[in-house]
Symmetry: C2
Subunit: 214 residues, 2 copies
């Protein structure tokens, strides 16, 4: 059985939780408390050299890191239901849509970056929250255009079944709410996020439904 | 023929240049001057809704964005020489190694983020450079462990031929030099970067060899 080492509020772990649920894969979960610094323990560093979550542990004892690479592996290993479309241009589009939160929003606003702003650069809570909102709204502005202006957008980011793109969108939309981003400016992103959250695979993966939720 | 819209010093465009060269694909290049804000022109926004580089324009007029998704598309469309290994676990590893610069280093230290630190948070040049170095060294510390401790690491990140992982490592190592990161701490990263730069496909893609280099 697979074991997911995660944290309830980690966007990257949240993406993998959704993927495991959509694929219907039985798995165990352990929780690494990021705010309390448990990712820096020597024991966890053995599992994940970057001391980040998630880590997906296989039956064979392989430790898979980096959410996007884990999700590609899940897709290759358990192709059904598919999280990527069948055509190469469609796959390119889905991966690009996923990369907007994955590369252009989330890394700039995650816990360790916000901590650096606070602790090393002496920024107060308002400046830190404004920073997080700025990158969310800038990234979502691009994502909104990529979705609203493209004929392949359907009930979900690409057609009428969830793809890898939705796995990245939903945790970022959750995070956007925490930082009071103005989602009225991104109606397509908000609509797709709501459609996803109607599905059990997404709802069960939500931070509030994890055993380590506070 | 493919057209790459890029900028000589963009890490993301640099990755795609290497991929095009390794695949031996004829292509045109245009240059979008990021420091002068040419990515914000209305004309460029039509090509790339995020107003970033790179954009890869196909013969059919499709505009492909996000370097990792572009490289996956190149790999699927022109499989030789392969940039991903044949086995699923190897592919997972290579994608994870690529994601360290792609998601955990580059996004936090790119031009727009450094500009925000300067212009919105009033940080001086020393603090901005220290920020860039901090995320480079933190990311490379993880990457070094992932490479040095794994039996699949060879002359390159995964075996003795370049893969997607090397396409991400080299531009980040170039960027690390600009910010005076201490590469002595990352001997495997430095060794692989040098091995890559011995290859014509990497050397020809270097920022200094682009027509818009300053």
């Amino acid at each position: 059985m697979l074991t997911l080492h995660g944290y309830y509020r980690s966007s990257a772990a949240y993406r993998v939780r959704i993927a495991l649920n959509l694929k219907g894969l039985d798995h165990r979960k352990t929780f690494i408390h990021l705010r309390n610094g448990h990712q820096f323990s020597a024991a966890y560093a053995e599992l994940n050299p970057q001391q980040q979550v998630p880590t997906l542990e296989t039956d064979g004892g392989d430790m898979l890191v980096q959410s996007s690479a884990i999700i590609e592996w899940l897709e290759e290993t358990w192709p059904e239901p598919p999280l990527l479309p069948a055509d190469a241009l469609g796959r390119q589009r889905v991966r690009a849509l996923a990369a907007v939160p994955g590369c252009d929003i989330h890394p700039i606003g995650n816990l360790r970056v916000l901590k650096y702003l606070q602790e090393e650069l002496g920024q107060g809570p308002d400046a830190v929250a404004a920073w997080a909102r700025h990158w969310i709204e800038l990234g979502f502005a691009g994502l909104e255009r990529m979705l609203a202006e493209h004929p392949a957008t359907g009930r979900f980011c690409h057609g009428d079944a969830p793809t890898m793109a939705d796995l990245f969108l939903v945790p970022q939309a959750f995070n956007a709410e925490r930082f009071n981003a103005d989602m009225d400016k991104f109606p397509t992103v908000a609509r797709i996020s709501a459609a996803c959250n109607d599905l059990e695979a997404f709802a069960a993966a939500a931070p509030g439904n994890q055993d380590d939720a506070e």
